[in-house]
Every structure is written in structure tokens, then in C-alpha cells.
Amino acid sequence: MRVLQRFYLVEVLSGVALTAAHFFRNMGAHGRRALGQKSARGAVTIQYPEERRPYSPRLRSLHRLVRREDGSPRCVACMMCETVCPAHCIYIVATEHPNPEIEKVPARFDIDIGKCVFCGYCVEACPEDAIRMDTGILEFASYSRRGMIYTQEMLLSLEPAGPDGRPQSPIPIPADRQP
């Protein structure tokens, strides 16, 4: 450290000066823009969650289960995702599908988001393209571990995100988070 830096007051004052410079430059830019000068651009704060930045289409967000035309799950409960999942966060129980051509359907399909590492292997492994991670939903906070478990019904109700990456369906709220 230089001798000057050892006097903390000098460093503190230079920091305050830097912050102040940014503040007044931004205030000037926003002021000029408000007065009609379109080329002036100050720093921008995005008012999340009312405003969102566009997400990349490749973003891996909350999973959803793809539906068939009749609304039943496309999933055939083959357990490929459950097997490949490195976090062991998928729980599937299979049952008989009324149509023997389809043969199998999940009786239970739970994802424990609290354990999920968002690797996307489940999407890669799926032979039926029945699970996708394209909902754009990234808000999963919960008061309990139980509340991190997303059931088949919740995952089936989700829609893919819009072209700008914004979620199209409301964020599913597990039972213990409901007001």
C-alpha cells in the first residue's frame, strides 16, 4: 500500500467523489432526456418484477410437462429422466394407460425443485419430448421443503414462455405458500 492509501480518509473521499460524479452525470442525462433530448441516456434500473429483461430462449427455467391434444400428459413414465437426474429430484410412479398403444402414464410425477440443479438432462433424456424447461419461471421461493415439490398437475398446467422469454402462465403456488 502506498502511504497515501494508508490514510483511509483520502480513499473514502475519492470513493464518495466517484459515486457523486456518477450520480450527477446520470441526473443530468435523465434531466436532458426529460426535457426532450432523446439521445441522452442515463443508467437504467429495471423495476423487477413489474419489468423483466428478455431471457435467452436457451434459458433453463421451471420445468413443465407437455400435454397431448386431449390434455393428458405426453409422458409415458419411462423413468429416463428420473434415472439420468444427477440430483435424484424426480419421483415418478407409473400406471396403466387405458390405451394399450401408449401403455404407460405417470400416476405421480413430482419434481423437488429444492434439489434440482437445473442441468437440463431430463429434457435431453426424454424420448417423448414430454418435459421441457421453457416456462421462463424462475421464482421458486418457499417457506418449507414441502413447498418446493411441484406435482404433476402443477407442471402440466404450465405454458411455454413467450418469444421474449416472459412467462405466459402464472407462477404455480404450492399449497403451503397459498395465502
Binding site: 409415458v76 413414465a77 419411462c78 423413468m79 429416463m80 428420473e82 434415472t83 419421483y91 410412479v93 407409473a94 400406471t95 396403466e96 394399450p100 398403444e101 401408449i102 401403455e103 404407460k104 405421480r108 424420448p127 417423448e128
Partner: protein
Amino acid sequence: MPRLTINGKEVEVPAGTNLIEAARRVGVEVPHYCYHPGLSIAGQCRLCMVDIEKTPRPTIACNTQAVDGMVVWTETDRVKETRRSVMEFHLINHPLDCPVCDQAGECWLQIYYMKHGLYDPRMTDEKVHKPKAVPLGPHVILDAERCILCSRCVRFCDEITKTGELGIFHRGDHSEIGLFPGRELANPYSANVVDICPVGALTDRDFRFQVRVWYLDATKSICPGCARGCNIEVHTNRRRPHHAEGRRVARLKPRYNADVNRWWICDAGRYGYGAVDDKTRLRAPSRREGEAVADATWEEAIAAVAGTLGRLRPDELGVIASPRMANEDLFALRRVLERRGIRRVGCRVPPREPGDEDDILIRADKNPNARGAALLGLDGDAAAVLAAARARQVKCLWVFDHDLLASGWPEASVEQALRAVETLIFTGPNANATSERAHWVLPSAAWVEREGTYTNFEGRVQRFRQALEPLGQALPAWDLLGRVLVALGAPAAPPRAERWFGELAAAVPAFAGLSYRSIGDAGQAAATGPA
């Protein structure tokens, strides 16, 4: 004995051996579907083609007997090309629905296709559709589209059970496996067709959609369903407890033993594992006073049982041992009896319904170790013990495994005997009407939760291994009896089943010279002498 050369390796085989078996001896696997060593040769699948020198075309190995001086090549380009073409032919109408197929993971179509297959299918036409998910009987379900028509199941029903329920119907690529009109695949060995089906055409209804096979662990074991002692594998699911409603034992599969069961087991044995994960399992020692039942610790239970055994005169004590107990347990029990000089010991309790029997595998005696109990001298008449209890000569009765109230004896007389004793002790893995009347219940581990040996009706000592941890606080019966023995003042009890067996072999002439190592996987005959 013909000498032949397979892939450059010379081998001498008994006359009449076919080329698949001869190749197996030199460690060469010839892929095949329809050939099964326990069945006649069909030559149906055409996959086992090999090149034989001085033969113009590839020849099927299953139906070609080894001949002196034969030179066989199993991996030439021509053979590989043939295999690939045959596989392509098998798969023309196969639905390739491996993800939903229960056979996936243990399917020979998958295995051979990965090794020898043509990866880009050339089939562009619509596949022939056939019946799917058709129940053939109580245990077997058919998916005719997956079938490659190897006819193993047909030959099994014709040759092994001689019931002939199955046949191949229609012609050409419309051929399909099916039942003869009015028939049902309900013979006592029906589920063996699931094991021998090389593909997913015949699957197990009991196991259907329960667990994917790659989650299962296999443990060598012995079927406890009857005195035959068929060699089996216990398939357990410990990795995904949410499958199959938490049942740990997923299924039993036969294990080859040339001298006992060959490749087969009966359906009663195969589906007889339900009690292991049943609600009736006893999880902790418990004591009953009047109507109140309370869990106890092992220390309390062992001290109480040993106290009772030590307090009473030997002729006031009665024991009904069980032919379902392993040799180690019975020997530990014998040590306890010897220590207290107890003479009132029985083992044989008549079943309510006489057991069925046939000349394939099933034995009328539904106990796995009746012979072992006899060799250990514990097969006295249990009726005499019960009669003594009824006459109030027995103050403490220790019952192992049996539900005396569900036996062939009249319920009222059993009830009277059980009520006459001061202390009734029950040891077994599952609760029953007898255990409900017991003052002390000491839970023992089920057979898949421990090591041990059974002696089958021919006197063959066979070893079963531990596949699972005991449920709750249950202990192997030899452990529990060892603790009682120590509480009665013995210096120490062997800490492992193997050591108990060592003591047994040293003490009982019939078991002399036997050890877990010498028994191995295939079992070893006890010196039963003139029977």
C-alpha cells in the same frame, strides 16, 4: 469325445454337444434367441450362425453338433453380416418401444442390437400391428408386437409343464403367439415363460410398471416356499423407495442349479415374498400385559425371556421350533435347550390344508428346512408339547414362526393350550394370531434380511445371503437366541451366521466338514447316511 477348434482355441466336448455350448466352454458367446439349454432345439431365430470350415454357408450353431476336427469361426465378417441382417429382419415389425417396455435393461434384443445391429433402420413401410397388453393368465401379459417368435414359451409349455396352452397362430409376418381357444396360461410354472422370453413380449403382471430393472440389486438366495429349496435371485430396490409402494423386494428370479431346480421355479415360490414388506411385520420387541401391548427394548426382552427360562424347571418349559428357521437358528436354539435341559421340543405342526405336490419341483412340505430340523434332532412332535401345555404341565411356551391357530389342529384346543401357559413367547418375522396372544414378542429378521442355510428334502445344504437390512429392530433368530444364551450364563455366542454354522458343523455329524465356503453357490449334500 470330439475335439474341435473354435476361434483358434481347441476344446474337447462330450459327443452330442452343440456348437453354442461348445463355444461357451472356451468363453465364446454365440448370440441366440430361440435356443435354450433346457428346451428342445427349434432353429427358429437363425441368429446363432457361425462359419464352419469346408461348409459353404454359415450354419446355425444350436442345431449343429460338435464333430471331431471341426474348425469353427464365430466372428468372421460373413458371420457378422449375417447376424446384422437377421437382427434387421427380427426388428422389421418390432415397435421399438423400449422406454415403456418392462424388459428394457435386460432385453436380449437390446443387448445384441447394441453389439451387432444395423443402426439405421431401412424399414419404411407401416409395421404390422398386433394385440398389445393381453393378459394370458394370472401372471403373464403378452405384447405380440414385441415378439420375435422364438417359440421358447411354446416349447416350455409343451415340454416342461406339458400343458400346451400356447401356440403360434397365422402365417408370415402376421404370425403371433397366442393361447389355444378356451385356454389360459395358468399352470403352476407359468411365469417361467417371462424369464425365458428373450424380449419384452411376455412380461410379469406382478412386476408390471413397478420398478425399472436397472434400479434393482440381485442377491443369491434360496426359495423358502417348500422343501425343494429352489435356487433363486432376490431382486431388491433400495435406490428408489417411492417405486412399488416402498416394497423392498421387487421380484424373485430363478437361479440355475443343475441338481435342484435347473432354470425354473414355481409361481407359488416366485410370488411368495409378500410377507417381507408386509404390514404384519414385527418391528420391535414387545410385551403384553392383559390387553395392553407396549414396545420394549431388546435388553428388557432378552432379560425377561432368559429370566423366565432360568426360573422355571426344565419340564415346565416347552418350545415349538419351526422348520422355517435356518440351520443356524435351529442350532442356536438347540444350544439354548441344552443349556436349560429342555426336553419338550416340537417342530412339526400339521398345515390346515395339505400341500400340493407334483413331479417337477413343487413339494407337499411347504417348509424350507424340515430336513435340517430333523438332522438337528429338533423335529419332535409338537402336538405332545401342546398337549402338555393344555395339561398345565408347561408354564412357559416359546413358539417360533408358526401360527398355531391357523394350523391343522382344532382351534379351540390350541386356544385352550395357549391360555393355559403363564408365559407365551413368540419369535418370528410376521405377526399372526399366535403372536397376538404372546406375552413377549421377539421379532426375527425375514430370510432376505440375513445370512443362513436351509437343508432341502434331499439333504442338500444351501446358502442364502443377506439382501436387505432387517426391518425395524428385528434380529436374525440366531442372534436373538445367542443373546438369550449369553443371558443364561453362556460365555459368548458366535457373532455371525457363518460362525454358528462352523459350530454346527463341528457338533452335528451330518454337517461334518461343511462350511459356507464349501457350500458355495450351488449347495452341498449333508452326510445324511441311510435315510
